[in-house]
């Protein structure tokens, strides 16, 4: 049994909206209002997928309701990242996981993993794991998982290189961590196109002030040059007067 399995979910194509970086705390605050919302279906389990990005990170949140009796104390959501738009198991190279160690008490951990021979390895080579993840449960039937995934080149060879302008397959995997690798119960695949970074906003007032200050300083410089010239002329005059 491999961790990475074929996903039979529909391959929705998502183009993330640009937004400010949210707090990755599982709280699903107002900052997610600007995200691209998609209904996802985990083989019978319905959820809402929210995706957005800024110039440096991709942000993904998954929200779904599940009957308390169907939940596991050590449940997890893993986001497996393909190195292309292909959702074949062999193309998934990277994984970001949030797993609960005790769902009732809300204890969870974020794991920056990589995929090796279809299996998940959570000893990522980089000790300072890239990205971030968090989860929070509401009323024991609604749960929100949030992820932050770095874009562009990271310093970790086991991280997926999510290049701007390209499309990548993301497999959202749900299951019970303690039963790994057999605990995977549901997965869903989506295609996300990473948007090219926005150029920094041009502050017109700042430019005007900068130009004005250059003009002002040039005028002051010209005044000082004329003033210095007058001092030299004065020196000659004094020299003549004093003999």
């Amino acid at each position: 049994m491999f961790f990475v399995t074929y996903s039979y979910g529909a391959n929705e194509e998502i183009t993330p909206e640009f937004a400010d970086a949210p707090d990755i705390d599982g709280a699903l605050g107002d900052e997610w209002d600007f995200s691209n919302k998609t209904d996802i279906h985990f083989e019978g389990l319905n959820g809402i997928l929210r995706v957005m990005q800024d110039n440096t990170n991709l942000y993904i949140s998954i929200e779904f309701d599940l009957d308390p009796s169907a939940r596991n104390e050590t449940e997890f959501i893993g986001i497996l990242i393909s190195n292309s738009s292909s959702n074949s198991p062999e193309d998934f190279v990277d994984a970001k996981v949030v797993r609960f160690s005790n769902l009732t008490e809300g204890n969870f951990a974020y794991l920056d993993c990589y995929v090796d021979n279809y299996n998940l390895k959570h000893n990522d080579t980089n000790l300072n794991s890239d990205g971030d993840g968090a989860a929070q449960m509401y009323d024991y039937d609604t749960i929100v998982y949030e992820f932050s995934i770095p874009l562009g080149n990271t310093d970790d060879i086991n991280d997926a290189f999510l290049d701007y302008g390209d499309k990548y397959a993301f497999n959202i995997t749900y299951g019970d961590w303690n039963l790994y690798p057999g605990g995977i119960t549901k997965s869903h695949c989506v295609l996300i196109t990473i948007q090219t970074p926005l150029l920094p906003a041009i502050d017109l007032a700042e430019i005007v002030l900068f130009i004005l200050s250059i003009v002002s300083f040039s005028c002051i410089g010209a005044f000082l040059a004329i003033y210095s010239y007058n001092i030299i002329v004065l020196k000659k005059k004094i020299g003549r007067l004093l003999g």
Binding site: L209, F210, L212, S213, I214, S216, F217, C219, I220, G221, F223, L224, Y227, S228, N230, I231, L234, K235, I238, L242
Partner: protein, 139 residues
């Protein structure tokens, strides 16, 4: 005859004294102008180029240092240029008038336009400086 010689000697001493006074005033004029121009050059680096931002020196400590330097150089520019202008006018035999002081005030404030805090504190500093110079002149 001896009386004429005595008066001639007195005149020569007065002329020497006058020459020494003018020499001293001119030297003061040159030195204060050089310091004023140096302050202006430092002001370019801090108030236009924003050297701390270019060198990526950020944080509350560097922000404070940056602010203090920006304000200080403009106040020193005003102070030395005012002395310089006073000496210059003195050598021409005319007193400085309020228009020249206002012009220097304006030139100093022009240097602070990029930062509201620098503008505010410099304005306050210049007002205090002008008041101080006015009061010591009266006394």
């Amino acid at each position: 005859m001896p009386k004429f010689q005595k008066e001639q000697g007195k005149e020569s001493r007065i002329r020497e004294k006058q020459a020494f006074k003018e020499e001293f005033a001119f030297r003061s004029l040159v030195i204060t102008t050089i310091i004023g121009v140096a302050c202006f050059i430092v002001s370019i680096f801090f108030n236009v180029v924003e050297i701390f931002t270019i060198l990526n020196l950020q944080g509350s400590f560097f922000d404070l240092i940056d602010l203090v330097i920006r304000i200080s150089v403009v106040l020193l520019f005003f102070f030395f240029m005012m002395i310089s202008l006073g000496n210059y006018k003195d050598l021409l035999g005319k007193p400085s008038n309020w228009k020249e002081i206002a012009f220097l005030f304006f030139l100093s404030m022009l240097q602070t336009m990029r930062n509201i805090y620098v503008f505010g504190f410099t304005l306050l500093g210049l007002i205090i400086l002008v008041l101080y110079l006015y009061l010591i002149q009266d006394s």
